[in-house]
Structure formats: structure tokens, C-alpha cells
């Protein structure tokens, strides 16, 4: 708390702070567009901007290793995976007017209320806390690696098992169950119940065609 009394005002920002603010604004804006855009593929691309912006923020916070991991894993693989998912579920390309559900206004209320509460609390708690960014980088690869393999090696190994399990689980889930598909009762049920709702099913493609 003695440090907190040091003369670091909000009205005289340092260079790092200005850079952080600008990149933060871009990140926040990209995130907002990502969750509001009507075009599903654009949402994924705006997510890339937001995640990349976050990687820059990590760099500004001197956590370089995290930043590169962020770029590699998120921008490199997760977003690609998401795009594949969009493709495989035949998500419409172009504007889709029903991208948001009817729950939107409730969601907006909750989100704004939560944001107000969180910002209020965070600002109230940490408005005088100062991070000293000088000196050796806190998140250099050496420091992170040493910490990870000295203190966190057991969770690290457990994590590898988790990843293996996730791998197997993803394969099992996405495999087309042949026995399930060819079993007669399921088929007959599907066809038996399909006939009354055929017009309903036809409506969706028509809308999509119009939108596209």
C-alpha cells in the first residue's frame, strides 16, 4: 500500500500504458464484433483479431512465452478448428438474420450488469495498484520453463493424460456409428416421423438461399 501511494496518476500515462490501451480497445472492439456479427465466418475471423490483440497485450505485460503460445494454439489451431466446425455443420456463408436467439435482450442485460459490477469492483480495488514492468521479463521462456518443470511438473503430466483422453473422446464422438445408423428401428422411426414436418424442413434452405 505504500507503493500505491506513489505518484502514478491515470492522467499521465506512460508509453506502455498508451500502447496497452490502444491494443485493448482494438481487442475489445474485435470481440464485440465477433459476438454480434450476422456473418458466422466473419465472427471467427474477428475472433482471430481479438485473440491476436490479446497476444500483444501479453507481450506488453512481458509474458512473452504465453504470448507465443497464445498465437500458436489459439490463432493457429483453435480458430482453424472452429472454421472447420462451421464448415462441417454447413453454416451459411453470408448474413444470416437468425444468428442471435430470442434471448438476446436478456443476455445483453445480464452481460451489461455483470460488466458494470465487475468493472466497478476491479476499479475500486486496484485503482492504485502499480505494476513495475522494468527489470527482467517476468514471463520469459526461461523463467516460465523453470517454474513449469520445477514446481508444476506433476499437473503438467496430468494435463498430458487429459489431452490424450480428449483426443480419444473427440474421435469416438465424431465417428459415424455404423451399427447405430443401420439399425432398422431407428430408421423406421425417423422416416415415420419425418413426413409431417417436411414443409418445415424445407423452409430453412429457402431462407438461406434468399440470404445468400
Amino acid at each position: 500500500m505504500i507503493l500505491a501511494q506513489a505518484p502514478h496518476g491515470f492522467l499521465s500515462p506512460t508509453g506502455v500504458e498508451i500502447a496497452f490501451l490502444l491494443v485493448g480497445l482494438v481487442t475489445f472492439g474485435a470481440a464485440l464484433v465477433s459476438v454480434t456479427t450476422k456473418q458466422l465466418v466473419h465472427a471467427a475471423l474477428w475472433l482471430v483479431v481479438a485473440l491476436g490483440g490479446l497476444a500483444v497485450e501479453y507481450l506488453l505485460l512481458t509474458a512473452e512465452f504465453i504470448a507465443w503460445v497464445q498465437v500458436l494454439i489459439y490463432v493457429g489451431s483453435v480458430v482453424v478448428l472452429l472454421l472447420f466446425g462451421l464448415m462441417l455443420t454447413r453454416a451459411p456463408i453470408g448474413r444470416s438474420p437468425d444468428a442471435d436467439s430470442a434471448n438476446r435482450w436478456a443476455a445483453l442485460t445480464v452481460a451489461v450488469a455483470a460488466a458494470a459490477a465487475l468493472v466497478w469492483v476491479v476499479v475500486d480495488a486496484f485503482r492504485a495498484t502499480w505494476i513495475d514492468l522494468d527489470g527482467p521479463a517476468a514471463g520469459s521462456t526461461e523463467a516460465t520453463g523453470a517454474s513449469l518443470f520445477q514446481n508444476w511438473v506433476l499437473p503438467f503430466e496430468a494435463l498430458s493424460v487429459l489431452l490424450l483422453a480428449a483426443l480419444v473422446g473427440a474421435i469416438v464422438l465424431s465417428r459415424k456409428g455404423k451399427a447405430e445408423r443401420s439399425s432398422p428401428p431407428l430408421n423406421s422411426r425417423a422416416t415415420g416421423e419425418s413426413s409431417p414436418s417436411v414443409p418445415d424442413a424445407r423452409k430453412n434452405p429457402a431462407e438461406q438461399e434468399g440470404a445468400g
Partner: protein, 131 residues
């Protein structure tokens, strides 16, 4: 740098993700929003880790280690999540969350969801082609 900057940014990103989770229909977009929320948390972890590594004598770098773990778990989660969404889409013909209402009280709309698999598949291809 003030700790308030990353903290406020993190809070805002978290709430943006929250809005996305609650408001998006497509399950994959919901997964994206979940990623946003996780990243907001990561930012928080990193910021506080940096702050603590400067002020504390001894540090385990737990913030950064946890961030790495979160990233790994998020990667696993997105894999599993996409597999589930794909399975649902294959069985039900849709990935819209608000049409998966099998648990509703007085639920009877399930049959209308199920058959879409056979009919919408070619139609959707056509839609893709026209787009």
C-alpha cells in the same frame, strides 16, 4: 502500468464472451464466446502474475503456469465441444442451441427437429453452392 487496465479489459472481454454465450444461436459461435471468456481469465492471470512477481520475494509463477494449463484445457475443450456439435448436427440436422429443447416441459417439438437430417442435407448443399 496500472493493474486496473488489464483488469478492466479482462472484465469487459469476459462480459462480451458472456453475452455471446447467452445470445448466440449457433453452437460453434457459443464455443467461440467461451474461448473469449477463457482468454479474459488468462489475461487476468498473466497480469496478476506479473504484478506478484515484482512485489513478492518468492514466486511460483503460478499465474503463468495456470494460463498455460488453461490454454491446453481450452484446446481440449474446443476439440470435444466441436465433436459434440458435429454429432448433434448429424443426428438432429441443426446446431442451433434453442432448437434443442428435449428437456422442455410438455415437450412435443422433438419430432419436427429429427427428420431434418435427410431433407436439409442436400438443400443446405444447394444453399452453400448458391452462396
Amino acid at each position: 502500468m496500472h493493474l486496473a487496465y488489464p483488469a478492466v479489459l479482462s472484465a469487459l472481454l469476459f462480459c462480451t464472451g458472456l453475452y455471446g454465450v447467452l445470445a448466440r444461436r449457433n453452437a460453434i459461435l457459443v464455443l467461440m464466446s467461451v474461448e473469449l471468456m477463457l482468454n479474459a481469465v488468462n489475461l487476468n492471470l498473466v497480469a496478476f502474475d506479473v504484478w506478484l512477481s515484482r512485489t513478492a520475494e518468492e514466486t511460483l509463477h503460478s499465474g503463468q503456469a495456470l494460463t498455460l494449463f488453461t490454454i491446453a484445457i481450452a484446446a481440449a475443450e474446443i476439440g470435444i465441444g466441436l465433436a459434440i456439435v458435429l454429432a448433434v448436427h448429424r443426428n438432429r440436422g441443426t446446431a442451433d442451441i434453442d432448437r434443442l429443447r428435449d428437456t422442455a416441459e410438455g415437450h412435443e417439438s422433438a419430432p419436427s427437429d429429427e427428420p431434418a437430417d435427410d431433407d436439409t442435407a442436400p438443400a443446405a448443399e444447394k444453399a452453400e453452392a448458391t452462396a
